[in-house]
């Protein structure tokens, strides 16, 4: 027998990437009345791929603001504070190279997590789409350095591990950025659900009429 609950992962993706209660509610309603899990998955994948990109295109200036905001945060904290202030102090502690690198990367990843969080907070209600806009820009900005490593690898000055390291580090930063954005929207959604839940329990005239 088919479950009354739609596929959990598909619902999670929808909630995170298409923060529109109307859309997710419509899909649940359709799933419960006449559709299959495969249909729900298909709809979720289409919505996740169409909806945030459509919001980026529709709100170009907001997307530009998100990119500038993200870049400024990165520049101030990474290029100046992390590299200019924190890194020299870490060097003075006399840690071994691996430990030093690990500490530095934990701090850098925390920065990317925070960056995603701040971009999402400043660009509500299009938080996820705007974090995605910055992530797309970060991917484009990653091309020259990755290309440089590939060229170094081809001329023999660096080996394959350098490329693997470069790509892994950059994928990691993107994941942290998106996680920061998703955490921020998740927190907002919990707040909204609580408020909506309280109203719903009290019962509004429209709900009472529907019953």
């Amino acid at each position: 027998m088919r479950s009354d609950q739609p596929p959990v992962i598909a619902s999670w993706l929808l909630e995170r990437f298409c923060a529109d209660p109307g859309l997710s509610g419509d899909l649940i309603e359709e799933y419960r009345t006449r559709q299959s899990s495969a249909w729900y998955w298909k709809q979720a994948i289409i919505a996740v791929s169409v909806y945030p990109f459509s919001q980026i295109v529709e709100h170009k200036w907001l997307a530009a603001r998100a990119i500038i905001t993200g870049y400024l945060i990165w520049y101030v904290f990474n290029a100046t504070i992390l590299r200019g202030v924190v890194r020299p102090r870490l060097d003075l502690l006399g840690m071994d190279e691996t430990m030093l690198r690990a500490t530095y990367f934990v701090l850098a990843y925390a920065l990317w997590l925070g960056n995603g969080w701040i971009i999402a907070k400043l660009h509500r209600p299009y938080s996820t789409a705007m974090v995605l806009a910055y992530a797309l820009w970060a991917i484009v900005a990653s091309v020259p350095p990755v290309y440089g490593v590939v060229m170094n690898m081809l001329d023999g000055s660096k080996d394959g591990s350098a490329l693997a390291w470069e790509v892994t580090a950059r994928v990691g930063t993107l994941l942290m950025l998106m996680s920061g954005g998703l955490l921020s929207t998740y927190r907002d959604q919990i707040k909204q659900t609580r408020i909506a839940g309280q109203d719903w329990r009290r019962g509004s005239p429209r709900v009472a009429a529907a019953r």
Binding site: C18, D20, A47, V50
Partner: protein, 110 residues
């Protein structure tokens, strides 16, 4: 600012919105399009079109109350504005003019 013309899906969504009337939300709008055109439309695409139309000022939306059948999610009700109705009329006029006196199509119909 340059005039933004309606896309194919946007026009279909607006026409469905007029047909459904009150209580128009994603599900009846997509059903209307499917029944009238025989085409499957993804709800995500319908919502993306509705968002664009709202930004252009052709529709307005409001959230209803959360209901248990929808997992506690609210319905988002849409309504066409006077500007939206005017845009649909303009699109109809424009397309009718394009259709008129097309010998190739008339030959096909004969």
């Amino acid at each position: 600012m340059a005039k933004e013309y309606l896309g194919n899906l946007e026009l279909m969504v607006l026409l469905s919105l007029i047909r459904v009337g009150d209580n128009a939300y994603g599900v009846p709008i997509s059903h209307e399009i499917e029944q009238r055109t025989g085409r499957d439309v993804a709800l995500g695409s319908v919502y993306a079109a509705l968002d664009r139309l709202e930004r252009k000022g052709y529709v307005t939306s409001m959230l209803g109350d959360p209901t248990p059948e929808r997992g506690g999610r609210a319905k988002r009700y849409f309504q066409i504005t006077a500007k939206g109705v005017k845009e649909v009329r303009d699109a109809q006029r424009m397309l009718t003019n394009m259709w008129r006196n097309l010998s190739v199509l008339q030959g096909e119909l004969a």
